[in-house]
């Protein structure tokens, strides 16, 4: 009796070929067929490419049973070490360059727009709203730094009312959510740009720091022989209706590890200088004891600009794949 009886997901699809005697050459097609019975054509496409690449990886490496098991155990350990504030899988994605790649893919930038950089594992929804001029860091050991920025569109028009998340590590390179004894959010805040598209706040000068290596990520660094340091940087995320979300960071020009960031986030256009504070600014913003200033002008891509680029890139990729596929929501999907 063949397997055509009912299950939670309804009866097995009688149109699928019988899946017996699967071997190295024919198994991929069978697994893809089996994963293509859902309703979402985007997920069918994702499963198809996922199964293809996982299988090709095993075929090309001639992956052994012991290596397979070690890999699964390592992935299990990545999940087990996670907590609300420790996101080991994001770090894994970061150190494999996947996070930078996905940001480049999903947030394409037209000429003139500020480039993106990785989100990292330390963005937190717990951040407090801040007013222009507020202090975001209570670390008294940090070097005080005034940050003055603008946010505009690609035509040079100021964008008022943008919601801007900023976050940075403390003077020891540790984020608030890494600390078990923290009283509340620190080293972070959510600002709004004013009518001139300006936003500004007090912070501390960022320092380089190592990625936390007391878990599976540490094992990976050890085996791959890599260093685990990030150059000094400050994170920014911009949200404003009509504009594509910008996730980025600014990197200090002189910082160690700038040329070999462990998570591949640095771009020349995001490398900045910290200058001596000028007296005009110090007076205007009432900053008698702050000696350093960082200035940056951010430029957001509009939704339309980003979508046009997504469509163009997706179409090119599908053409290269030789695929009978269509775009839905600016990303590739299956036709069926």
């Amino acid at each position: 009796m063949a397997s055509t009886n009912s299950t939670t997901n309804g009866p097995p699809n009688a149109q699928l070929p019988i899946a017996i005697d699967l071997d190295i050459d024919n198994i991929t097609e069978h697994v893809i067929n089996r994963c293509s019975q859902g309703r979402d054509p985007r997920m069918k496409f994702i499963f198809e490419r996922l199964v293809t690449h996982i299988h090709d990886f095993a075929r090309e490496t001639r992956l052994s049973t012991d290596e397979w098991r070690a890999g699964l155990d390592w992935l299990e350990a990545c999940g087990q070490i996670c907590t609300e504030n420790r996101k080991e899988l994001i770090t894994v994605s970061d150190i494999l360059g996947l996070s930078t790649l996905v940001d480049e893919i999903d947030h394409p930038k037209p000429p003139g727009a500020t480039q993106g950089s990785i989100l990292g594992p330390f963005h937190s929804l717990e951040a407090e709203d801040k007013l222009n001029g507020d202090q975001i860091s209570c670390d008294v050991n940090g070097e005080p730094l005034f940050v003055f920025c603008t946010v505009k569109d690609t035509h040079g028009n100021p964008i008022p009312g943008a919601r801007i998340h900023v976050w940075e590590a403390d003077s020891h390179g540790e984020y608030d959510i890494e600390k078990s004894d923290r009283a509340g959010p620190d080293g972070r805040g959510i600002l709004r740009s004013n009518e001139q598209g300006e936003f500004y706040f007090n912070a501390i000068t960022p320092v380089p720091y190592p990625i936390l290596c007391d878990g599976p990520v540490g094992t990976f660094f050890e085996i791959s022989g890599r260093h685990q340091y990030r150059p000094a940087h400050m994170h920014f995320m911009f949200e404003k209706e009509g504009f594509d979300k910008l996730i980025t960071a600014l990197y200090l020009r002189g910082s160690m590890y700038r040329d070999s960031d462990a998570v591949f986030g640095v771009k020349h256009s995001l490398v900045v200088d910290i200058h001596e504070m000028d007296s005009e600014t110090a007076t205007k913003y009432n900053l008698p004891h702050v000696n350093k200033i960082l200035r940056y002008d951010f430029v957001l891509a509009s939704d339309m600009e980003a979508d046009a680029l997504r469509d163009k890139h997706s179409a090119a990729v599908l053409k290269a794949l030789g695929r009978d596929a269509v775009l839905v929501g600016h990303v590739p999907t299956t036709t069926s």
Copy 2:
């Protein structure tokens, strides 16, 4: 100042190109270079193929930030739900066909050798040693089944002293290690073949069962529209010095889901009939109340036979990749 200072893994490799302005097209090479600083040439090759396929997957799907995050959260959940006796990542590998594929790759079979099948997540090291003729299941609701097997080499010579793990679910399709109230190992045991290469034991007739879907694996089945059932089967694993480990299973011919096993394990050569007990066997092995018998003759590949096939397949794959690589331990590796 460039990043050439000391770190846990020694100074950044000055010979690596500066990793700034990484984009969709150039990031893969940089990440591979960075992952190639370890001492193990096999791991370098594995990392190279892993990074290549993860990146190609993201590029081809135009993976969005939301999809990326959903995928990482799903992987985190897979790790979080794992316990000593629940191995969600093995199940994930099983339902993606990876487990079957890796067994086919790592345990190639010469003509005449018994084919492999997947290990699954329910093998346990807690199993007790059993003698020929022992009962492995204490499930009184199961249909009693006598299992009589032989194990030989590819020339037909009996293999005495082989260590044989057997395991099966109970009459409700549940394994011992799935039960929180279990007293000890049940439905499993470790036997030894006798001088004639025979091993035999009492068990129960296996039944089909669904894969546990109360976790991330269930979400996957839901999205992919697949059923989650396995046909009735019994697991076997053979260990004997000089022979390649054989992980396999026997499947009942009439079982539901035989043609659409949720984990792609069925092979025609592993499909068996359960027969009515014959009086000669019942008398010889003192089984007055057992009405069913399953017979199977297993054939093990020698280490030499398996290694020769590994070398041949690995060389073919490397040739197809156009790679300057060498085999170490019968698997591909890098030359440097």
